[in-house]
Structures are given as structure tokens and as C-alpha cells.
Amino acid sequence: MSLARTLGVALTGVQGDVIEIEADVADSSLPGLQFTGLADATVVESRDRIRAALTNSGITWPNKRITLALFPADVRKVGSRFDLGMAMALLGAAKQIPADALNGVVWIAELGLDGRLRAVRGVLPSIVAARRAGYRRMVVAAGNAAEAALVPDVDVRAAENLRELLDWFLGLGPAPAPAQRAAEPSLDAPVPDLADVAGQSAAKRALEISAAGHHHLYLVGVPGAGKTMLAERLPGLLPDLDDDAALEVTAVHSVAGRLDAETGLIRRPPLQAPHHTASMAALVGGGSGLARPGAISLAHHGCLFLDEAPEFSASSLDALRQPLEKGQVVLHRSGGVVRYPANFQLLLAANPCPCGARPDDCICTPPVRRRYLQRISGPLLDRIDLRVQVDPVLHAELFETAGERVASGTVAERVASARAAARERWADSGWQLNSQAPGSQLRRGRWALPRTVIRPAEDYLRRGELSVRGLDRVLRVAWTIADLGGRTVPELADVAEALYFRSGASSWAA
């Protein structure tokens, strides 16, 4: 009897758990290979891959009774990511390589039948989890090298095939090269510029406020007015992601299999624009067994843009409410409960009616128009701070030269300084953005504004044209507008402007 132990990482969502893989080779039994320890069918499949990979790497298959066990047994292990760890444990147990050389190394790769190491999804969060558990030495497939190298303070080796690893352990060849970071994609890669959009000063202003305070935005207007163009320009106004945020975003994209081999850390806020036929699983995350991240998680620290929002199914739209409040989504499936981060900025766009014609040619009756926009449910609409009616572009605006229009770079600078002002103000309070400030603090607490300043909002409240929650949102936006204008405290005109953007498409729809 002979035993060897290696390490792997099991992933549940973006949450990684280091697991132990034990291999036992017994002489006095019938030959065969068996698994224990909550191994999913995909893990059991590796039996054939490991055997072929070893044989094709020039290793004699130990024709004995082999038991592979994965610990702890109650952590669910899915996928082919344990192939390499199991193969190495088996080689150790069969005394083909010295078993103690394997100590403390974490293995994350799938094996091809030819013995090649193949890239797997979710390498970044796996390495982060292994590092957190105290491990420093890891081996991944060459295809995952760039991704694995994003994690600092670890010794990650990237190998092409099993033979290379075997030679390294037998002292016949050099150690595989440390994994190298890919060059970070240039940050001045072309992004659509705000200067491309003709006219629409109100919508552009709303976009700027939205970017500065992380306020959700709803655009209503006839087709061709530029709603989609505007929405696509929001990420360009947002600041780069800081290190922690960039790692979180890259981890989600890694789990979703959306990173290609050469992608570095995702530094720019991502934009996700699912089509309205997208299923609920595609939108919020799902799939059988253990749920995979959906568009809202891929939009983490970025923007989720729903064009033609009333065309989305009501259940899909309402599924956004919990993530909007919590900044994460919890998905329950037969295989277990998964949490994915989903702290996104919501951008909705809608035509004013189903026919989509210009106002003069519209054939929709008032009830039809009303019902159409009512598909965005009240509770969802209530969470949106800025609502803008996008007017058709005037002829003159279309032919103005781009030089007269404000460019994304200029707006992004204003957004950055407004965010800095907000961060400084809220530093003691523990929140960073105006949209995170609790309403009670803005209404009654230390940050309450004088009655004379909030009077227009109070009038709206008194007349029943604004809810209390709506008032809180108006106050948050007023703070953002003041930050953009370089004022330390909002003034009456800031509150009036916030109120204008809050009262936007709703009264128009009624």
C-alpha cells in the first residue's frame, strides 16, 4: 500500500475552497480506478482522460487497484479542473515521482488525452482562494498563465504538458517558467465618445450625474433619438476600477469563461447589454446544478444596459430588484446556493410606445402607451433616480460640428472630481458614493439640508407627486449635482434639477 496527497481548488460561484486529493495504490486487489468524496460525474469522467494522458506521456499505467479520494467530502467538486491534481497524486502513490515533492503545491488544470494541460474557467478566483488558505506554490496550464499571474505574491508555474512536469520532478528538466502577466490592455483603447452624440443636452447632463453618483438611469424617447448611443458612452465616463474591484470583476468573468488567454486585469468598468429575449438565467445567472453568473454579475462594477426595457419579461425585470438593493445575487439550485457579486449601474431605455413611431405618426392609443411603459413595474422604477425624456434630434443639432460638443474626457474629469468630493465628505460615514447614503441621514441627520433649500421637493411631497423614498433619491441626486458644480452643500437650484430628473419619464408616461 502506498499513498500520496495533492491539492486542488473547488469553486462554488466565485468562492474557492482548497481541497485535498489522495491517491492510494494497493497491490493485493484487482486492477481498477475508483473515486470517493462527492465527485461530480464530470470528475469521474477524468478516469479515462488521466489514463490516456499518462500513457501518451510515456508513463506506464500502474496496473493495480487505485483509489482517488477528494476531501473534504462535503464540498461539491465539479468539472475537469482536478485532472492534473489527481494525475500527480496517482504518480506519487505509484512511486513514479517522489511523493513529498508534491507537498504544498496546488494543481489547477484539465488534461488532454495527449497529456497536454488545458486551460479551465475560474483560475483567478481559485488562486486567490489558495493564497488566502496559505498556499504559495501553484501549477496551471500555459493557457491560464496570464490570468493566474494577476494574483500577487504567489509562485505560479505554467506548464504545457504532463511530461514537462514529470521531468521537473525527476530532475531531468528545468522547472516550468513562472506565469507572466499579459500586458495590460491600453487604457486609451478607443471607446465611444460623448461628442459623437448630437444635441440631447438634458440626457447628457443626466448621464454625467448618473456617472458621478452611481445613480440608475431611465431614458425614454423615440427611436433614433440616440438612447443607445448615450448608454454605450456611460462606461467611458466612469473612473478606472481600483485593484480590489478589478480583481472581483476579473474573477467573475473568469468563472463565466469570458476571459481569453491574453486578457489582463479588467480595469475598465464593463458594459453588459443583454437583448430583451435573454432568459432569466442569462440575465441574473442560472443553469442546472450549480448556477453560473449572468449578465448582472458580468456587469459588476460596471453598467447593465437594458435596451427596449418594456420588452423584457416582467419576471426578469423584477428579478433585478434584489441585486439592486444588495449588490449581489443569491441563486438557489439543486447543486447548492451560489452568491455572485452584482453591484451594477442600471441603465434602462424605452420607446414611448410599442409602435415606435415619431409622436406625430404614432398610432398607439393612450391606454396602449400607458400599459407599455407600465411594464416597468413601480417598485423597479422607484429605484431609478434619474428619468429622462430623450427628445427627437433637431435638424440643426445633427449638423453642429463635433467640436462644439463636450467630449467624454472632459466629463470624465468632472465625474472624477465629484466622486472625490463625495468620498471625502462621507469618509467618516463608511460609504463612498452619494447613492449609498441612507435617506434618513439626508433627511434628518447630520446632512439634512435647510428647509428653504428643499422646499420644492417638499411641495412635491405634499401634493403627492413624490413618495418619501422618492424624496430621499432626489436628495441624493442633489448632492451629486452639487459635487459636480463644486459646491460643498446643495442649493435650491440643485434640488430643483434633481427633482426635474426624478419627475422625468414617469409623469410623461401617465
Binding site: 443636452s201 422646499r455 420644492p456 437650484a493 430643483a496 434639477e497 426635474y500 409623469s507
Partner: protein, 130 residues
């Protein structure tokens, strides 16, 4: 040539009333900032300033009181629309770099004018009406 239909008569009455209201408000000391401001959502009749308040004036003119007092035509829905138009006007002035000086209040006034066949027009100014 343009025909003189019922709509044109109505428009002419409206314009006459707005002229009258503007000159009356001007005499009362209100500074008129804009008249007949239009946007795709609607129109504001008169925008003025007085004693640190920005005033949005809706003018209602009638040649008969058979359908009630002109001010009755301002329904809650219409009032809500004017509130919103006022906010839009403010936002646009701001975007245009017009600071509008010192003001600390928004006020919504109504001026009603009834011009019967005989006798002069009767003008009423309701301050802070809605």
C-alpha cells in the same frame, strides 16, 4: 391664405390675454424673464421674477364665463405638468449658463382674464395659486 377657423379665434384670444397679463404684471413690478417658452413637453406662458421668487404664470383668457371661472381649467394634472415644465426650464437655463441671479422660491401664479362683449376685460392675479 389662412382660413379663420374656430381654433384661430381661440389662439387669438389667448395671445391677447397673454399680452394683457404681461403688461399688467410688468406694471406691478414683476421682471419678465421669458414669454411663451416652448419645449416638446409643452409651453409656459410667462416666467418672471419678483422679491427673490421665480414665478411661473399660467394665463387663462375667456370671452365667456359660461364654462365657469377660467382658473377652473387648471386641473391637478395640468398643474403637475406646469410644475414639471418649470423644472425643465430651470434645468435648461442652468445648462445654458444662465444663473438667474438670486432666488429662493418657486411660485406658480394664475392670471385670469374675462373679456365679455361689453365692458373692459376683467383681470385677476392669483399669487401662489398651485
Amino acid at each position: 391664405m389662412a382660413t379663420v377657423g374656430p381654433m384661430r379665434v381661440k389662439d387669438a384670444v389667448g395671445r391677447y390675454g397673454e399680452e394683457l397679463a404681461a403688461s399688467h404684471l410688468g406694471q406691478q413690478g414683476m421682471e419678465i424673464l421669458a414669454r411663451n417658452w416652448r419645449c416638446p413637453e409643452g409651453e409656459l406662458d410667462i416666467i418672471g421674477r419678483e422679491d427673490g421668487a421665480l414665478i411661473f404664470v399660467e394665463v387663462k383668457t375667456r370671452s365667456t364665463t359660461a364654462f365657469g371661472d377660467p382658473a377652473e381649467a387648471i386641473t391637478p394634472a395640468k398643474a403637475q405638468r406646469i410644475h414639471r415644465l418649470a423644472l425643465r426650464w430651470l434645468a435648461e437655463q442652468r445648462a445654458g449658463g444662465n444663473s438667474l441671479g438670486n432666488w429662493s422660491e418657486l411660485r406658480f401664479d394664475v392670471v385670469t382674464i374675462v373679456r365679455l362683449a361689453e365692458g373692459g376685460p376683467k383681470l385677476r392675479h392669483l399669487r401662489g395659486a398651485f
